[in-house]
């Protein structure tokens, strides 16, 4: 059908006056000089006539309102033999007058019809082979270009992951096509800090890869100058907005790790939330922010988490959770969270996610979207830190009401009676837990009956931890102004505001984690020697 609607080109053999020789035929005429070509327009009635003809067509006696026919007559064509293969007109054999100057006999016509019947399929095969060769050449050129693009993109990914003492860093990048829109990066910063990036450009393939490379470059440059993750994302957004193609944007998680202290400051531009696995469970790292490249003037919330020895983090792109099984169910966040909870951290975690994913989607299924994962795992420093198997000494909920913290410390005292914490350390922990509980009940749960505060007391080989969780969601206490007694006495600061200050002073470690509608403050006290208890 395609050939019929296309302009049809018919080659004409022309009588050579010098030699008197005549060449007749379409493709065979290529070797001889003076080959005129007659184009048959797609709407020319001659095309339909040829297609429906049962054999050789007498041109001179044909009467059609056809430009091509007039041209053929003018060129001296006497007989045209349509070459039809599987109902499709693929060529015409044009013949001038016989050399004997007699008319074509019926035997001649039979011979030509037989010839056409055999030539047409052969010609069709020849045409197909030639078309395929041309397509293959084009495809090969594209493939070569894609391969070059893939190599360039590979070069944008970190060639090696940083060797951070006390940390294991692992990464995986698996584009769905040759090139992808996902990326990750590890950026060394001043003071030994390290920036970690996982990003995802909408769409896949070459357009996404181009936007990805631009984002990655701007991010690298901004990270060196600005450090603070929120500011970095703001800057990148400003750079990307003017040039971003319509309907494209970039989601991106950027975190800055201080390997010494385990502090991870992070900001999030609409990217899937990372998971943190601690001894007590898996939580998401939440921070608000719009994807990059959508709108200028965006601000990115900054949060901080502290990773204790044994904790691990998984940064991931949506190619993991949005993978489907044969019934079109999504892998989803709960499954990923479960895998994070079950698996150790580091490379093992990546391997586990991949194998769980493959088991879910079924073998040999085509990967739908780019998949990227980066894991950070803090190794247990000195004494081995049990991951996830510290014993729970107490786990209870308290109604949020003024004075509710007194019950919390009474139960804490009973729970840790066997731990062997000295008198002074116990008193400090009680004060810290009382303050944390007060904060949670007042600011987080707003003293509401439907928002109890839950408290877990955990005991591992080297630490006693108390986790105080409120159901406040947005009601997180703002970072306290460092209380200055002199200023308070002179009325320049309010008398209040000692809670967080006391907590910090009373315990060895504090850490804040937030997830859907929950806010947890974990207080930890180091146990000397590690055998200071009954574990």
């Amino acid at each position: 059908m395609a050939a019929v609607t296309r302009s049809f080109r018919s080659r004409l053999g022309r009588r050579d006056r010098e030699t008197g020789s005549e060449n007749a035929g379409a493709e065979t005429a290529a070797a001889t000089p003076e080959v005129a070509e007659v184009d048959i327009a797609p709407n020319d009635p001659l095309l339909g006539y040829f297609q429906g003809a049962s054999g050789a067509v007498d041109i001179e006696s044909l009467d059609l309102d056809s430009a091509a026919l007039r041209e053929l007559k003018a060129a001296g064509v006497k007989l045209a033999v349509p070459l039809v293969s599987q109902g499709e007109l693929i060529g015409v054999l044009n013949l001038g007058p016989r050399l004997s100057e007699q008319d074509y006999s019926s035997d001649d016509r039979k011979l030509l019809d037989n010839l056409a019947a055999q030539a047409a399929p052969a010609l069709r095969v020849g045409q197909l082979v030639r078309e395929q060769e041309a397509e293959a050449a084009t495809r090969q050129r594209f493939e070569q270009e894609l391969e070059v693009a893939r190599l360039i993109q590979q070069n944008f990914l970190p060639k090696e992951l940083p060797d951070l003492p006390g940390w294991q860093v692992a990464a995986l990048y698996r584009p769905a096509r040759e090139v992808g829109g996902d990326f990750y990066d590890v950026i060394p910063l001043p003071d030994g800090r390290v920036g970690f990036v996982v990003g995802d450009v909408t769409d896949k393939g070459v357009p996404a890869a181009l936007v990805m490379s631009a984002t990655r470059s701007v991010l690298r440059a901004s990270a060196q100058r600005l450090i603070e993750p929120g500011e970095v994302l703001e800057r990148v957004n400003e750079h990307l907005c003017p040039d971003m193609p319509e309907k494209m944007f970039v989601t991106c998680l950027y975190g800055v790790l201080d390997p010494e202290s385990g502090h991870l400051r992070f900001a999030n531009a609409g990217h899937d939330l990372p998971y943190v696995k601690t001894t007590t469970g898996v939580v998401e790292l939440r921070a608000r922010g719009m994807p990059l490249g959508l709108m200028p003037g965006m601000h990115y919330e900054e949060k901080e988490a502290v990773l204790a020895p044994g904790d691990s983090v998984l940064l991931h792109s949506d190619g993991v959770v949005e993978a489907h099984d044969p019934d079109r169910d999504m892998f989803g966040f709960p499954r990923l969270k479960e895998t994070v909870a079950d698996a150790p951290g580091g490379q093992e975690l990546i391997d586990r996610v991949l194998s769980d994913l493959e088991a879910f989607t079924g073998p040999d299924t085509e990967q739908e979207d780019d998949i990227t994962m980066v894991t950070l795992e803090r190794s247990g420093g000195g004494s081995p830190v049990p991951t996830g198997n510290g014993s729970v000494l107490a786990d209870f909920e308290l109604a949020s009401e003024p004075g509710g913290e007194r019950e919390a410390i009474a139960r804490l005292e009973r729970a840790v009676a066997g731990v062997g914490l000295g008198e002074a350390r116990l008193e400090r922990l009680k004060t810290a837990v009382a303050e944390a509980t007060m904060n949670a009940m007042e600011h987080g749960s707003e003293y509401r009956a439907d928002r109890p505060v839950s408290i877990r007391v955990l005991h591992s080989a080297d630490r006693l931890r108390v986790r105080v969780t409120d159901r406040g969601g947005a009601g997180e206490p703002s970072p306290a102004e460092e209380p200055d007694l002199e200023a308070k006495l002179e009325g320049r600061q309010k008398p209040r505001g000692w809670g967080l200050f006391l907590i910090e002073k009373m315990v060895d470690e504090t850490r804040v984690t937030s997830s859907e509608g929950e806010h947890t403050l974990e207080l930890a006290v180091r146990l000397e020697g590690g055998d200071d208890g009954d574990s």
Partner: protein, 121 residues
């Protein structure tokens, strides 16, 4: 352990007023403590002694109340000292630097007689 509302009693010894604190020093103690201070400072005393011997729980709201009391005393030129603090709360008074602005002694006698206010008796 339930909360124990703060009970306050004011006594005058020599030229000092002693405020005995019993119970929990928390946000709900505000009125009691303010009334006690007014009573203690009205008799022309030039020093107020806070006796914490019966106060077994002080939280950050209680600290804020003490800060408020201290600020008021400073404007009145009244000296404030504290006695009867447990080791733990003495540490908290040091961490918060309250001990820089009030004399801390072990017992009431030291607070009343000690104009020199030795910190560590």
């Amino acid at each position: 352990m339930a909360t124990r509302e703060l009970e306050v009693a004011v006594r005058v010894r020599d030229r000092a007023a002693v405020i005995d604190l019993r119970g929990d020093l928390n946000a709900s103690a505000e009125t009691a403590l303010r009334d006690a201070y007014v009573e203690a400072s009205s008799g022309g005393t030039d020093s107020v002694v806070l006796n914490f011997a019966g106060a077994d729980y002080i939280n950050s709201s209680g600290i804020a109340l003490i800060v408020g009391l201290l600020a008021q005393a400073r404007t009145h030129g009244v000296e404030v000292s504290a006695c009867g603090l447990s080791d733990h709360y003495r540490e908290i008074f040091e961490i918060t630097r309250l001990s820089d602005f009030m004399t801390i002694v072990d017992n009431e006698d030291g607070a009343v007689t000690g104009a020199e206010g030795r910190k560590d008796a």
